[in-house]
């Protein structure tokens, strides 16, 4: 061993992080009773436990929000607590950005900012906020263990006991990922809970990972984001859903999959027990899902289509139904759902045959984006699941079916399907020459344009015109032709000619409804297994309890 090394280890402390944490813990000695901080001392505790410049993960999930802690954070003194580097998977609540206006925080790394997409764009433009990066969920969780290791985590749980053990139940979501990254590298974990109890239904996060628990003044905010009322499903969406089932799921034997949040995919879910059944596909397709407990999945579950569903998060109103179907869902000993966003994203990335989603814009090469001018909404989980993970080594029939060459080293591909109507509401074309994302990226000075799903990952496009089998395209030109053939009368679609479409149909690059034995006139709402939220409640035998805003009766 060299002289300098010996010297180094003699003088260097290897416990600076641990020591720093102990110092902070000392500061709240008088405030806390064990791990419990009284509700009214929350702001004071935050001022003592957080230091200027800290990296703070604030749990704003897709659905669950640590709303008491985020509100408390806006009340700290900006002279004491400032320059915070915030890490939030979802920027949802007004105060998530107000802390930047107040001078408490200065930098942000995030995944999704849909509910605050205008303010965040304005604040970047005004220099009120320093932009870190926009991530897909898994990417952000990954960085929590590499170069965004948190100093403090502010998270939410349903219940805690006096030892700090947590019950997060159906809405576990990303709490374990955040807490793990913080707790095991001497960060401070502060949890708001809806209630303190003596006995927990089950332990989702052990107390030894948790530093402090605060009973919130009111329960954390939780949104029903994945509920789609079947009443709003149109016949065009039903037509596209029929093409998805015949032209993609059946054709490639898709057994495991993730669905997006839209009405298009809700239509597929509701056609399985009717149209899917009539094709004799039960047991062949759609057996394993990585998906939130979508209420529109109830009829397919009840008719025996579904083997398993792993969930990113919960869904308001589905608690009792899920608890009554433990053969299908992941549930704890207490009977309630256990969700886990990080694990479900891993599953959705590596372990499923197919991802199907929708978009607001797509260019001639199949690149897609949901950003609109002046808004910066981020992506959430779509790019994570909507790409081909090239490290995949296990095979399934659908994955192998994407091989189009004789190469002995050829590998399969995940099916990434985009399902869009050629025009959005208000006569706005979905297929465009150039994505708004390019302009938005420049305006926000991002290093890359905020593309949601890259064209070279997309294997299929389904529109009301037909299906484009992009994975079969031998060249970029052929790929563009196939996209144009299903792009209707949009600027991109007008580049196609009937003759070209004929050729593409012959080669199997494009299928029109009639090529799939689908008559446009058959796409009727009567095909939906449930036509209203009320029907879904009936299918569930009364176990599904929809939130008030979805009740029409």
């Amino acid at each position: 061993m060299s002289q300098s090394n010996t010297c180094g280890s003699a003088t260097r402390s290897w416990t600076t992080r641990r020591d720093a944490k102990q110092k902070r813990l000392q500061k709240v000695k008088g405030l806390a009773d064990g791990c419990i901080i009284p509700t009214e001392k929350c702001v004071e505790a935050l001022e003592k436990l957080i230091s200027p410049g800290d990296r703070v993960v604030l749990e704003g999930d897709n659905q669950k929000q640590a709303s008491f802690l985020s509100t408390s954070l806006t009340q700290v003194d900006p002279n004491k607590i400032n320059m915070l580097h915030m890490i939030m998977s979802s920027i949802s609540r007004p105060e998530h950005l107000s802390i930047f206006e107040q001078g408490i925080a200065e930098k942000i790394d995030f995944s999704y900012a849909g509910p605050q997409s205008l303010r965040i764009a304005q604040m970047i433009e005004d220099g009120t906020l320093k932009m870190g990066g926009i991530h897909t969920y898994l990417e952000l969780f990954g960085r929590l263990f590499v170069d965004l290791i948190p100093n403090v985590a502010l998270v939410a749980a349903d219940k805690a006991d006096t030892e700090g053990n947590l019950y997060t139940g159906p809405n576990t979501e990303e709490t374990p990922a955040i807490v793990e990254a913080t707790a095991f590298r001497d960060g401070i974990v502060i949890v708001q809970v809806n209630e303190l109890v003596d006995d927990l239904p089950r332990i989702d996060i052990p107390g030894s990972w948790v530093d402090f628990v605060i009973e919130a003044d009111k329960p954390y905010q939780l949104e029903a984001l994945f509920t789609r009322d079947p009443r709003h499903i149109t016949e065009i969406q039903i037509l596209m859903a029929m093409m998805a089932i015949r032209g993609v799921y059946e054709k490639h034997h898709v057994q495991s999959l993730n669905h997006g949040i839209g009405f298009n995919t809700a239509a597929i879910e509701l056609l399985l027990p009717t149209y899917g059944e009539s094709l004799g596909l039960k047991g062949d397709i759609c057996k394993h899902w990585t998906l939130n407990p979508h209420p529109t999945l109830i009829p397919a579950i009840e008719s025996g289509w579904i083997d398993s569903v792993h969930c990113f998060g919960g869904e308001v109103g589905m608690e009792k139904y899920v608890a009554a179907r433990p053969d299908v869902f992941f549930t704890g000993r207490d009977g309630s759902l256990r969700s886990n966003r990080a694990m479900s994203q891993v599953a959705g990335q590596y372990a499923v045959d197919l991802f199907i989603g929708s978009t607001l814009q797509m260019d001639s090469n199949g690149n897609s984006s949901t950003v609109t001018s002046g808004r910066l909404s981020g992506f959430g989980g779509a790019p994570n699941m909507g790409h081909d993970p090239r490290g995949r080594r296990h095979s399934t029939p659908a994955w192998l079916d994407m091989i189009t060459e004789d190469d002995p080293l050829a590998r399969g591909k995940k099916l990434v399907v985009q399902m869009v109507e050629t025009y959005q509401a208000g006569n706005v074309p979905v297929f465009v020459e150039s994505l708004d994302a390019i302009k938005v990226g420049k305006e926000a000075e991002l290093s890359t344009a905020p593309v949601m799903i890259y064209g070279d990952d997309v294997t299929h496009i389904i529109t009301e015109e037909g299906v484009a089998y992009l994975y079969k395209a031998q060249s970029l030109e052929e790929r563009r032709q196939a996209i144009a053939a299903v792009a209707g009368v949009t600027p991109i679609g007008l580049k196609s000619s009937p003759k070209q479409t004929e050729t593409l149909r012959r080669k199997g690059l494009v299928a029109l409804p009639q090529d799939l034995s689908i008559r446009r006139t058959d796409a009727k709402r009567s095909l939906l297994a449930a036509k209203s939220v009320e029907d879904l409640v009936d299918w569930s035998g009364g176990l599904y309890n929809p939130p008030a805003k979805f009740r029409s009766w």
Partner: protein, 321 residues
Amino acid sequence: MSTIDEGVRSMSTAFLFPGQGSQQPNMLHNLPDHTAVKETLEEACDLLSEDVLLMDTEERLQSTITVQMSLLIAGVAAVRALKAEGVTPDLVAGHSIGAFGAAVCAGVMDFKEALSIVKLRGELMERAFPSGYGMGVVLGLNESRLASIIEKYSSLEDPVYLANINSPDQIVISGAISGIEKVLKSVHSNGARKAKILDVSVPSHCKLLKSVSEELSARLRGVNSKQPAVPYAGNRNARPLRDKTEIIKDLTLSISHPVRWHDATSVLYELGARLFIEMPSGHVLSDLAKSAFPYARTFALSEGSITSAVILYDREKGTNG
């Protein structure tokens, strides 16, 4: 187990103040029957040394000066009545001239001062462009597509500008009538649903009115302004403004810049507004809010009573927990 619905969000109430186009004959006569309204009308009569109840005839509302003053009086009267009944806004915004009502509502300036400035604003606008200029509206095209069409047809002699972005596909343009007509003619073949010239003789909200901004600026600088009690969403840059200087600047520059109304109300929504109450008269702004924010409640005071506003407001606050 947690089964909370939308209950825990920070629900806020926003007051919206309409601009020109929302005036209606008898609009001051039709204001809610409330002491605060009567007092405001009397105050306006004293300040202007004329009977304001003679102002809201169809004939007199042909003048932009009368229209602007009537809208301000109606807005302030309504706010005072609502506040007297305990309905107070968390956020405010006004469309064009409506911004002055919003500024009074937020406490940035008093009614007296606002009335004299609005009168001046009307006079300056009326004088600015006597003929050959105006505005048009296009439905069904987004901002970037319309902007590229305008770029094609606008010229030095016949300038055309974007004036109000009211919704992603409802945009008002401003400028020389001949230029506007060219633009309107070509938007149909580019996918617009509807396009027409508006019955307005002033090309508002574009640089043609720069001189009006400059003259207003001198007057507004002399205003004894106070810090706003609640955030005010700006016309020009759609930012939530919390500083009186910024708000005065917005009131000054708005007339020579496009009104980014859709963005201004989107900012209010992102800040938590879930109940939008539109001051009299008309329901243009509540209709826009209703289509932009399906999960929010909207209410036009012209179409309901103070009592219904109180009920909606209490309900909204009730869900706040």
